[in-house]
Symmetry: D2
Subunit: 154 residues, 4 copies
């Protein structure tokens, strides 16, 4: 079973956060993990692009019921048709999370992930009890792998 790390965050964010998301995606792929995201634009697309640039595999769990909505850096889109309810599937499927920026959708994702007792690393995101703060992509990815309970199977 492959290790799966999710990057979560909104569609409309400032440039600096997109560059960080891209770096986070790249670093996740370099560690050999699958990059999971919501499959759409903004933070989701930037992180998938970073992972693809590093030769990684990307999975996009879409709100829509049609795979055509995936951004061009998604290898395997999962078309849930659940709308924002797909956030709970992302929470259940990833081993750990990096939250970057984000609005209420990201907040629901953080809440589900913490409810499932999974590590959530945050960069300039909601200040919720349980989120582990990171300042840089390197710091975030290092903290993810430090917090994963099980050894990588890769």
């Amino acid at each position: 079973m492959k290790r799966v790390i999710a990057v979560i965050g909104g569609r409309r964010v400032k440039k600096g956060l997109l560059l960080m998301a891209e770096d986070v995606g790249r670093l996740i792929a370099e560690r050999g993990a699958v990059l999971l995201c919501g499959g759409l634009g903004g933070i989701m697309e930037a992180s998938a692009k970073g992972a693809k640039d590093a030769g990684g595999l990307t999975l996009g769990v879409l709100p829509q019921d049609d795979k055509g909505h995936a951004n061009p850096f998604i290898d395997i889109p999962v078309a849930t048709g659940l709308g924002i309810g797909r956030n709970v599937i992302i929470a259940r499927t990833a081993d750990a999370f990096v939250a970057i920026g984000g609005q209420y959708g990201t907040l629901s994702e953080i809440a589900f992930s913490l409810q499932l007792k999974k590590p959530v690393i945050g960069i300039e995101t909601w200040d919720i009890d349980g989120v582990i703060r990171a300042e840089t992509p390197e710091d975030a990815v290092r903290k993810i792998f430090d917090n994963l309970k099980y050894k990588s199977v890769l």
Copy 2:
């Protein structure tokens, strides 16, 4: 179409919050609205009990796939089988929300409801931008109906 008001909150809360949930349920029923909740114990059960005591109708949107899990004050259990993913159905189905106490599950519910631009009144709950604070059940229910955009059809 009947007006539907949801009461959200955790299973394990202190006594004072349960009494407030019961009062909120009663006041919602007295206003002629359907009481919607997650169908289980704690705040959910207290609010449903209050609504039933006032002769109201109660709907419980359960995480489980079997209606037998509903608390005894639920008239109509909806067995979603979605686990904590049922929170998004509560968010989509209610016209407004009263959040009382609560942990991460309640936080995801608040996030979804605010994402859908619906009024969320909070009593001793998460301090999230967008939540309208109330101090008492009467205050909470008054603020719900003040914030509902459409006139009651009852």
Copy 3:
């Protein structure tokens, strides 16, 4: 807890089946059960109209994430936002089913209901092993209540 009977079937069906759906809805309401349907047009709307004409309560489990899609005979729309995935929630929530006509959507509903070992009565619908055939609305509703394992709590 109220008894809940679902009427399932397509949106585009011939007139004769709509009249039968209306009669089935009426008879379900006269027995004191809640009428559950998919909340949209065709068989769903006809059965809800029948139930309302008899003074019953109607619940519509919608594919959409907005309650505005419910037909005018639905008292309480449940906005699932799951698309055709809402069929499994109908299967889990109803105590028994009357299938009238229908295409592939109705077939998935029949399959889920039989998988959950619940009684499915069919009028001019898919010929699937396990479906109990009925010729008239009266015959269908009598067979539903004969097949319900638990006594009505109404």
Copy 4:
């Protein structure tokens, strides 16, 4: 975007069908497509084993909310937590389907896939209008790729 082919079928099936599922999985992987299944035992496990033996990539869309339920041949489990409702996500995510044997769960999967107008090839499964029958794994996989509307992107 990678091409995704689903193999659907039950957990308890006779040996001959398991061998056919394994062959179908192998042939799908040899064509360069991702093998998607329900992630559990029986037909699901046999098809995933076949795909892995041929060096393919396997995705398991699980009913459970915990990835630990996946069979050992699944590279990436998607933990939906939707129970049998996960069938609709399989239907939305795959480009085409091979149904082998199966009970009511498989019937719901066939119904959803046909409702979404996707090709369904059947080997000793439900005789539903719209299913394209095949006699052997080679025949089934050939008919899948003949029926796919869009050219492979691999």
